[in-house]
Symmetry: C2
Subunit: 364 residues, 2 copies
C-alpha cells in the first residue's frame, strides 16, 4: 500500500465509517454527486476488468433468506462485502438488505476501511444501473417505469434523472404505501411522477423499465406482451437462485447483458436458460470489444445481480471521501503490537483498564 | 434469533469487540480457561458436523501473501472470518496473521458481533490442536517439540500443558530471538523449556511434534529420519497451496487426520498427495464413526489448516463472554431506520451533526 496508508494504519488502525457517518458523508458530498462519482469509479474499474481476481459470491441460503460474501481484488487493493437478503425482515423492523464491507491492502492484508454498505449498496446499484443504461438504452430515453418502490427505488430514480436525463417516472408497487413513500421523498426534484395501478400500466410507453422488487421467488413481474420495441430493461431485483422478475420469453427476444457471466448464470434472470444462452459481459461493451445495442428497435436487458467489483469501486470512493471530509473514526480491529511476533505479550498490558481509569479520572 | 438478541440488535446495533477489549476479556476470563472453553465449544460443534453448511475458504493470493474469507453456518447462526497470511509483514511492524470476524443471525442476516480475531485465532487454533491431540496422541505424552516460536507458539504451549499434561517443551526456531521471546513469556508457568539448535534435536524423544512456522513455501521442516514410533504430529503452519512443513514420506507412513477434507486437499500437507490418499476427518473420530490412533506405535498426523467452524465456535464464545462481562461497545454498522423501506429518508436526518454539536456544547 502507499506509505501514507501504511503509516496511518500502523498508528491509528482501521478507518470505521458507521451508518450515520456514511449518511453524513452523502449529505455533505451530495447524493447526486455521490452516485455520479461512484458510476465513474465503476466505469474506471470495469475498464480494467482483467486486472481483477474475480469470483462468484459465496452464498449461504436459509429458509428466510441468504447471506453472501463478495470478495474481489486487484494487485493493490482487496475488498469484500457482507450482504443479506431477507424479504421478511421488514416485519421485524429490519431492512431487507443490510450490508457492510472492508477495503484492505493486498501487500500486507491490513484492513484500511470498515464501512457500512447498506446505504452505499443502494448508491452503487443505482450507479451501476445508470452506467449500463447510458451505454445500452436509447439516448432519447426520457420515461422510466419503476416497478418496486422499496428501499432502493429513490436511488434508481435519482441516478436515472441525473445520469440519463429521465424526466418522468411511472410507478408501481404491490404495496401502495411504498409508492406513496417514494412520491413523498421525490416530490420536489423536478420529476413527473405517475402512480400506476399495475406493472402493465407503468411499463406502457416507457423507454426504460427498472424492476427492483424483493420477493424471493421466481416472480413473473414483466411479461412479453408488455414489451415495446427499443425498450431497455434494467432488471435489478432478480439476484439469486430462485429469484427472477422477467418472463423467460423476454430474454429470447432481447439482447442480454450481464456483469460477470459465471455469477449471473447462477443468480440472474438467465438462470433458467441453457448454459450456452448468449450473453454479453458489460465490460466488453465499455471496452469496445463487443457491440451494445444494435439498433433503436432492439430490446436490451441489463440482467444485473450486483457484482463485487461495484462494491470495490464504492468502497474506494467512501475511503477517499471520508478521509477528505474528515469523517469516520479510527478503530483497533487488529492488535497494535510493539513486537508483532509477541502476540502473547499483548495479554500482559492493561491498556483498556488504564484507558478507562484515565477516562474516569477526567470525568470525575 | 432469540428475542433478546433481536431486541438488542434493533435498539443498540452490533456488539463490537476491539483487539484491546478482546485482550481484556482474555485477561479477565483467564487464558487457560478461554482455551479450554473454546476447545469445548469446538468439540460440541464438531459433534454436530452435519448441521453445518460448509465450504472451503475463499482465498485471494498475491505475491506476498493471501487474504481469505471463511464462512460457515448452521440453521441459527452464521459466521465468517477475514484472515490474511503475509510472512513478510513483520518487516513493516505488522503481524503475519491478522483477523477479524462476524457472528450473524441466520433468520434475519443481522450482524450480532464484530470481533477482532487475531488473538482469538491464536486461542482457537491452540484449542483445536489440543482437542485433536487429546483424541489422537498417546495418553502418556509429556514432551512436545515446538518448531516455530512466533506469535502462535505460546498459545500452543499453554493449550498442550493444560489440556494434555505436557510438562516439557523442546524449542526450535530459525530466529533465536523468537525462541528467547517464548522462553521469557513462559518461564514462570511450570514447564521445562529446552532450547534446541535444530529441528532434529528438538524432535528427538518428543511424544508430540507441533510445527507452527510461517514461511509461504513448501518447506521440509520435518523429515522421515526424525520420526519415532508413536509420535503425534500437530502440523499447524502448512495451511495454503504451496505452504507445507512435512516431508511427503512421513504422511505415507502415518495415519492422517484432517478437519474438512475438501479444503485440506487444497491447503494441507496432503496437497502433494493423490486425490485418493486416505485421510480421516477428525469429526468422524469424535463422533465414533472412525477409529483414531490404532496402536501406541502408530504415527498420527493432524494435518491442520484451520476450518471456519473453529472460528464459529470461538465467535460464539467471545459473544457470550463479552456479554457476560459487559465488555465491548455497540456500533451502528447497519442503519437503524424508523421505516426499513425508507432508506432514502435516512439521508434527511442530521443525527451525526446534532450529536457532534451536542458534544461540542458539552465540551466547551
Amino acid at each position: 500500500m502507499s506509505h501514507h496508508d501504511l503509516t496511518q494504519f500502523r498508528h491509528t488502525g482501521t478507518l470505521y465509517l458507521s451508518a450515520p457517518e456514511a449518511a453524513e458523508l452523502v449529505r455533505r458530498h451530495g447524493l447526486e454527486r455521490c452516485i455520479a462519482t461512484v458510476a465513474s469509479h465503476i466505469r474506471e474499474d470495469f475498464l480494467r476488468w482483467i486486472d481483477f481476481d474475480k469470483t462468484a459470491r459465496v452464498a449461504a441460503h436459509s429458509r428466510d433468506g441468504v447471506i453472501e460474501l463478495m470478495p474481489v481484488a486487484d494487485q493493490h487493493r482487496y475488498s469484500f462485502k457482507y450482504v443479506n437478503g431477507h424479504p421478511g425482515n421488514t416485519r421485524f423492523g429490519l431492512s431487507t438488505v443490510m450490508a457492510f464491507g472492508v477495503l484492505a491492502d493486498v501487500d500486507t492484508g491490513a484492513p484500511l476501511l470498515l464501512s457500512e454498505l447498506t446505504l452505499t449498496t443502494a448508491i452503487r446499484t443505482a450507479a451501476m444501473s445508470a452506467l449500463a443504461a447510458q451505454v445500452l438504452a436509447r439516448p432519447d430515453s426520457r420515461v422510466m417505469a419503476l416497478i418496486g418502490n422499496g428501499a432502493q427505488s429513490e436511488f434508481q430514480a435519482i441516478a436515472f434523472q441525473h445520469l440519463l436525463g429521465i424526466t418522468e417516472l411511472r410507478l408501481y408497487d404491490v404495496d401502495p404505501a411504498a409508492t406513496a413513500k417514494l412520491v413523498a421523498n421525490l416530490q420536489d426534484r423536478g420529476l413527473t411522477l405517475t402512480i400506476c395501478r399495475s406493472t402493465a400500466e407503468a411499463v406502457r410507453g416507457a423507454d426504460i423499465v427498472t424492476t427492483v422488487t424483493a420477493d424471493k421467488a421466481c416472480a413473473t413481474i414483466v411479461t412479453p406482451d408488455m414489451i415495446e420495441p427499443g425498450m431497455h430493461l434494467n432488471a435489478v431485483g432478480g439476484d439469486c437462485p430462485g429469484k427472477t422478475e422477467l418472463h423467460g420469453d423476454i430474454l429470447d427476444q432481447a439482447k442480454v447483458f450481464v456483469e460477470y457471466e459465471p455469477q449471473s448464470r447462477i443468480e440472474g434472470e438467465i438462470q433458467h436458460k441453457a448454459a450456452d444462452f448468449a450473453v454479453t459481459e458489460f465490460w466488453q461493451v465499455l471496452h469496445g470489444e463487443r457491440a451494445g445495442r444494435d439498433d433503436a428497435a432492439q430490446v436490451t436487458v441489463f440482467d444485473s445481480v450486483g457484482f463485487a467489483l461495484e462494491d470495490f469501486s464504492a468502497l474506494r470512493f467512501m475511503y477517499d471521501t471520508a478521509n477528505a471530509l474528515g469523517l469516520g473514526e479510527r478503530i483497533t480491529l487488529i492488535p497494535q503490537l510493539a513486537d508483532p511476533k509477541n502476540l502473547f505479550g499483548s495479554l500482559r498490558s492493561q491498556t483498556v483498564a488504564h484507558t478507562r481509569l484515565e477516562l474516569e479520572t477526567v470525568l470525575t
